[in-house]
C-alpha cells in the first residue's frame, strides 16, 4: 500500500529502489518545489495599489497606530478643527466594533468611514481598498487611517500609507518601546501624548526617549497634548513636511 495516502498502488520508486533503477514515474513519489514566495505579498500588492490610487488624487495617507486609549481619536479631532481652514483631512477609522470614532470625527467636521474588523486585530490593505472609494477623499487631502488599537500586528501590514505615526501616552509605561519594538521600529514619527498629565504620573520622558532611540534611531519624537494644545504646531509642521 502507498504510505502517502493509503491507496493500493505500490510505489514504483519502492519497486525499483532495490535494483538501483530509480525512476520518477511513481504517482505517490514526493517532489519538492522551491517556492520562495512572500506570504504577505498579496497585502503588499494591495498596499501598492492603494498608494497608486491615492497618488492619482494627490492624497497622502498616514497609518496611525497605538495601544487602545492613547488618544488617537482626540488628537485627530483637534487636528481636524485646528487645520479646518488650511487642510482637508479625511479619516478611515478601524475598530473591532462600533462606529463611535467615525461619529466623533464627523462631529469634528471631517469625512469619515468606519471599518469594523470584528475579531480582526488590525487593518489590512484590502479593507482600506474597500473603504477608499466610500471615503472619496478630495484631491490633495490628507487621509488619516486610524488603525485598531494594538501595538503588535499592525506593524506587519502595509496599508498604502506614506508613514506610520505611533501615538504613545504618558499614562502608559515609559518602557513601551522596548516591550513593543516592532511597532516602534516601523514608525517614522512617535507622538508622546497627554503630556499635560505628566506631573501626575511616574512617566520618565528621558527614559522613554532613550528607549525609542535604542529601538529606532531614525524616529522623530514630538511630545504633545491634544486637550491643552501643547506643541501641536510641531505636529502640524510635520504633517506639512510629510505630505509634500
Amino acid at each position: 500500500m502507498c504510505m502517502t495516502c493509503g491507496c493500493s498502488e505500490t510505489p514504483l520508486a519502492a519497486r525499483f529502489a532495490s535494483s538501483g533503477n530509480l525512476i520518477s514515474v511513481d504517482p505517490a513519489e514526493h517532489r519538492r518545489i522551491r517556492v520562495e514566495q512572500d506570504i504577505l505579498a498579496r497585502n503588499t500588492r494591495g498596499a501598492e495599489r492603494n498608494r497608486g490610487w491615492l497618488a492619482e488624487r494627490r492624497c497622502v495617507a498616514l497609518n496611525i497606530v497605538s495601544s487602545p486609549g492613547s488618544g488617537k481619536t482626540t488628537l485627530l479631532e483637534r487636528t481636524i478643527r485646528d487645520l479646518a481652514s488650511t487642510r482637508v483631512i479625511t479619516v478611515i477609522e478601524g475598530d473591532q466594533a462600533t462606529a463611535n470614532d467615525a461619529d466623533r470625527i464627523r462631529a469634528a467636521g471631517a469625512r469619515a468611514v468606519q471599518i469594523n474588523t470584528g475579531t480582526g486585530c488590525h487593518l489590512d490593505a484590502e479593507m482600506v481598498a474597500r473603504a477608499l472609494p466610500d471615503l472619496d477623499p478630495p484631491a490633495g487631502s490628507l487621509v488619516m487611517i486610524e488603525n485598531v488599537g494594538n501595538l503588535v500586528c499592525p506593524a506587519l501590514f502595509d496599508l498604502g500609507e506614506r508613514a506610520k505615526v505611533l501615538v504613545a501616552s504618558v499614562t502608559e509605561g515609559d518602557d513601551k518601546p522596548l516591550k513593543y519594538p516592532h511597532m516602534f521600529r516601523a514608525a517614522r514619527l512617535i507622538l508622546l501624548s497627554k503630556i499635560d498629565l505628566a506631573p501626575y504620573v511616574p512617566f520618565d520622558r528621558a527614559r522613554f526617549a532613550a528607549a525609542v532611540t535604542e529601538v529606532n534611531p531614525h524616529a522623530t519624537i514630538i511630545e504633545l497634548s491634544a486637550t491643552r494644545g501643547d506643541h501641536l504646531d510641531a505636529w502640524y509642521a510635520w504633517l506639512n513636511e510629510v505630505s509634500v
Partner: protein
C-alpha cells in the same frame, strides 16, 4: 490572533501553487523580527486547513535568526533582539536577516487515483 490570517494566506498560496497535486509538507521561513509566533501559527494551521485539500499536511516552520550590519562600523553580527547594540557602541543596525515571512518549499505528490 493575526496568525490565523497568515495561516489562511499560506494555505491559499500553497494550494494555488500545488494545483491538483497533493501537498504533504510546507516549509516556511519565519524571521525572528516578524511578530509572528511559530507556536500560534502551528496551532492556527490546523484550524485553517481542516476540511480542505491541505488537511493533514505538515507546516514546517524554520525560524530565521536575526542578523545585522552596524551602520557605524560595518560589522556584521547576530542580532538577538531587534534592538542590538554593536560592540562599537552603535545602535543603528541594518537588518540582514530576521524579517523573512515566506514559503520556502512545498513537498507534493501526484494525487493517487
Amino acid at each position: 490572533m493575526h496568525e490565523l490570517g497568515i495561516a489562511m494566506e499560506i494555505a491559499e498560496l500553497a494550494a494555488a501553487r500545488a494545483g491538483d497535486q497533493q501537498v504533504h509538507r510546507i516549509v516556511i521561513e519565519v524571521g525572528a523580527f516578524t511578530a509572528v509566533l511559530p507556536d500560534a501559527l502551528a496551532f492556527a494551521w490546523e484550524a485553517a486547513t481542516e476540511d480542505s485539500a491541505l488537511a493533514g499536511s505538515t507546516l514546517e516552520i524554520v525560524t530565521v535568526a536575526g542578523r545585522g550590519a552596524c551602520r557605524r562600523c560595518g560589522a556584521e553580527q547576530a542580532m538577538p533582539a531587534i534592538f542590538t547594540r554593536c560592540a562599537c557602541g552603535g545602535t543603528d543596525l541594518a537588518v540582514l536577516a530576521g524579517e523573512e515571512l515566506r514559503i520556502r518549499e512545498l513537498e507534493v505528490s501526484a494525487r493517487c487515483a
